[in-house]
Symmetry: D3
Subunit: 260 residues, 6 copies
């Protein structure tokens, strides 16, 4: 198993003799369209960690339930941490685990905007320490490992926000929390009447140049429902497959790290 | 219902038209003896909030799963935040909710050492705002509301650490995570060979004076198992009763606040 | 003696060979009704420390003359520190003293709202150090040690703000700074038209439940004069007695700590 | 023109009437192998900005000459800022420019590890402001726009550290500061004896999985000279071409933004 | 009068109708040789403020009793704040007073090393506010205003540390706290065997160049007693004169500021 | 040579075997009247460092191109850092260099308002380290070393802002960036209709008292062009002379420090 919240300290003590790998899910409490709940990113990140640890033992830390969600604040219920706050939370968690002997940290990121903050926290933490730190955005990695399942054509963006991959994952985890009748598809357009075109919420193209460079300030300007990309082709079955693929991969990563 | 993580943003939007009260569970990931899991404080705080909202509608924020647990760091698996980090998390959550219209905040505290940090965060947040902020340590309040259930004699300290009240609560919430065969009772003694005697982990008596004034640095110096007080008289039935009492009280508090 | 501000460094050096206990008065500059000066909390906390050190040698640090007084800012002259600022001051003082060999710290708190901040500062400072840290709100402790002197009936709250205990203390310390003709009595009522009733400025009762849970944002909403509780029964004699009792207690505490 | 450091304030005042776009070069002072100077990232980022502004008017802010270079500290002369420090510098620059009317910010990033910090600073800055913020790592964007020039085969990594693209750029900017006789090629291998293989300094592959997820703590463990990838195929001519391509692109971007 | 700590809030309210000038003494708790107490800087700064307010009404804030004393930490009893902590204290005090209507702030600095921190705090505070802020190191200003009293020859440095001016001031304020039999004279020499010569603790000369540029890290390396300069010519009479001169000057300054 | 940005890391490694002195230019991006560019302070500080290192080997760090320029923000193009930000940049630079073995730090300050922040950063950095830290405002030191060149009469203030010394220095460094036809002379007057008179931007006199004590909040209130003092007598020749004098002095200082 390895779910920290469900273990006693003597059980953790025993487990740490063998393994020194922690999985740290980083979630969010933010709008996910009309069809998915606000806790989707936390539920998914935690479940990816939990299923991974079932395949290859590792400590599963409680999911950080809040992330960097400034650009979703126009949608009621969204909770956002400042980048500084989240970085401190991550640092304190890593320091605590490191004190107990953990030296391999794998962040299971459930929300794109958390990425830079996790990266800066890692950059500071690893100074002067012999540690291995990884971060994996589960839906990006999962999406690449199951390319055949997803339709990337015409702005469908299955790895967008509350789109096919996330929706499928959530369906597999807790179908009751998803209402596919309210699923939406939103194709991103151009930036404020220019030739600068979005190809996802944090990237644009200009002319023929396939160069990533932008960031959206307020999702409300781009999507009424909150979805970016298409969620209409999601299914529980696809969700099981993408979770299977990404947890296989993570289990393999843990196995390799245990050799070090 | 009102569990934020399980709602969509349009559902939150609707609910905020009627109610502007948020319940914020503050937990911990820290040792709770040989018989209780590390996530006990988070599980209990969240469940108190959830059951309260079932009685009287309110928004239930995801539990903050980490708290101020410095003095438990000798026990493997404990994760501790600095007071500053936790204060920032609380502030960011309150700021986000306030932006959506929430102006009544009730912190359901699951861990004693979080108290001062919640208090300082509240003190700063409420400056220049018309808000109502409350904090309730569920096991203290619950314990007082069900005095007849608990044995306070001879250092049994049912409101100690991983003691009767918490253990009973956890039994009511998820029996599978508690192993009563490993429950312990630890009676606190004197401080380092002096006449200063502990009457709980954050309070002492000196001579006949019933004055509170101390704090324990490292629980390991006082308890081998991690328990402080007695957990031997805990039961699921007592747990249901204490949860019932404290959630009745909180529901009543919310009802009163809705009049404002 | 032991008043740090009045000693030369060679005198401190000598004293530190024997004793390693510091008394740190934490005051405030805040309204104390029409009858008491703004410096009351600082004067009282310092005097308690000074008289204690006369009974049992200890280093008396200069009083921190500002505290957490946000909720008194409607009254001209009040100066308030942020919780973070006060915590840093406390930490820097303790670090300095610790570098000189002090390992027992007793905070003499003169103002209730300073409590949580002192607690968080202590919590952070004592990590990884072998130190003993205590905090004692002098008027609470003193009040309990001299219960027979005070009238707790009918909302008189002798341990309220600028009430009987503080007023008596200040009369004993410097009668010229108190004008008993302007002393007031203010009984707290209910919160904003609800059944939630205050039983002191940081605690309420709801229905029959004797549970503490609230905090007042702006004292102006509850008291015109600034007093909370009754100051009408204060006297210099009572002041001498409460100071005597609390300094006896503290001297005893220091004696015990010197055995460690 | 538009180089802020070379303009008087009345000239800036005039220019701001027409244009509200700032180019902010973010550099580094860090090892670039035996063949390139420590200031390479700053020189390149600034020159990209300067040449862009020659094509399409924009304010060119002085290059931030230090970046996030923790993992290069084993190499003498490297200067590193904490992520927090760099984020504050960026925020203060943006706040100052915003006060003068700039509302479009394009960061010309010269060093990969600065990326997450720039992203977090942008995320915080754009809250509650109507601004457009872009970040472009010049050598990545430039490399993609001139794919035909570079040899990506066999771990040559032309966009690695001090590799072909950067070296070519520096040759074009100031040939005297590059010693091609000392250029090196370093092919990254596996992580600590595992099957986890680097495909650049911040990315690995595991088995057949093409998933990015790792970060190197200390470059010294991977490269003796400091180079990652190959610098042997660099030339001044290629440098001119990649600078031409990326500044064409940026000028086009500015033109589009001026329409908003 | 105008001593804030001794006034009631209605008295302050009245006084603020006429005057909006605050005097903020910034002291220190640091070694002052064998002959002066650790609180000398605080006592002097506060007394200068108090005597000034007797001449021309102004609010006298309680002295900040701790300063920047890192370089005195080798001497037992010294308490030092970090520059950041002191800056925050100053900012919070000014913010509080500003909220009550004060817009002229005069810092009476009692300790040289506090100077830069006061300056940075002022620099940040006055942004976007219509305020007047002054800082006056009382012994430097006083020394210049009474040049005829002091012997500046041969490294006597009457404005050094615990030297003639400070000692005389303290004699005038509280003779009982000074032991002239233990007064010392220490002439500063050269820096670590070089031709760089100190002309006070924060300034040197090199060759014939009268240029200031250095700072001492640890006073212990330069003075056994803690004194820098000469304290042998101090007298109570000189102390009265220097206090008279500097408070006359400050009263005049307040009078001028009241015209604005 | 010794210009860090232009050296490879093996060159730095070699140089550090002999010398352990770093020159750190601290500049600004701020208005310098109609006749000088915004980068003047950075250009001058860097050039002083570079020319010094040509005379006596030392490591020349890239100039910090932004400083404390709050009071110049009314002039377009000015960029200002908070004192805290600049202090962090300085600290990070010093920590990095210290890690490589540098233990003598000379700040070449190009802008008066940076002074207090550099001082606080030094004060914190040197705690617990055996380092030598100096700061020299080049135009003040240079001005004193070449007194015969400058006209200090009648408020001409050659060491004012964008005045004769700075203008001459900039002419010597890059004549093309200075337009002497637009040079100005501004004589400071009294403060807001009082008898308080400025004798430079950070100092006043009151009555006959030659005491420094004030600071200007917004330069716009005192000077339309941005100049304070006179720039009309500047010349390239004087610039060469003042640069020669101050770099001779600094080279001598480095020579002395190398003996330690």
């Amino acid at each position: 198993m390895g779910v920290l919240a469900d273990m006693t300290w003597p059980q953790v003590k025993d487990e740490l003799k063998e393994i020194r790998v922690a999985l740290i899910p980083v979630g969010a409490t933010e709008q996910h369209g009309h069809h998915m709940p606000l806790g989707s990113d936390s539920y998914c990140a935690f479940e990816v960690a939990r299923r991974t640890a079932d395949k290859e033992k590792a400590l599963v830390v409680p999911a950080i339930p809040f992330g960097i969600s400034h650009c979703h604040m126009s949608f009621p219920g969204t909770v956002t941490l400042s980048c500084d706050t989240l970085a401190r939370v991550i640092t304190d968690i890593c320091s605590s685990l490191y004190a107990h002997g953990v030296d391999k940290f794998i962040f299971i990121n459930g929300h794109g905007h958390n990425g830079p903050t996790i990266a800066t926290a890692m950059d500071e933490f690893k100074k002067d320490k012999e540690v291995f730190m990884f971060v994996i955005p589960w839906w990006i990695a999962g999406g690449r490992l199951t390319k055949e399942l997803w339709d990337f054509s015409g702005g469908n963006l299955p790895d967008g926000h509350a789109a096919d991959i996330e929706t499928s994952g959530m369906l597999a985890i807790n179908e009751a929390l998803v209402d596919m009748n309210k699923a939406d598809k939103v194709v991103l357009g151009a930036l404020a009447g220019t030739r600068i075109k979005f190809n996802k919420s944090t990237a644009v193209t200009l002319g023929d140049y396939p160069v990533e460079l932008a960031t959206i300030s307020d999702f409300k300007q781009f999507t009424e429902s909150g979805v970016i990309g298409g969620a209409l082709q999601a299914s529980r079955d696809k969700g099981e497959k993408v979770l299977e693929a990404v947890t296989d991969f993570l289990a393999e990563l843990i196995r390799e790290l245990k050799k070090v």
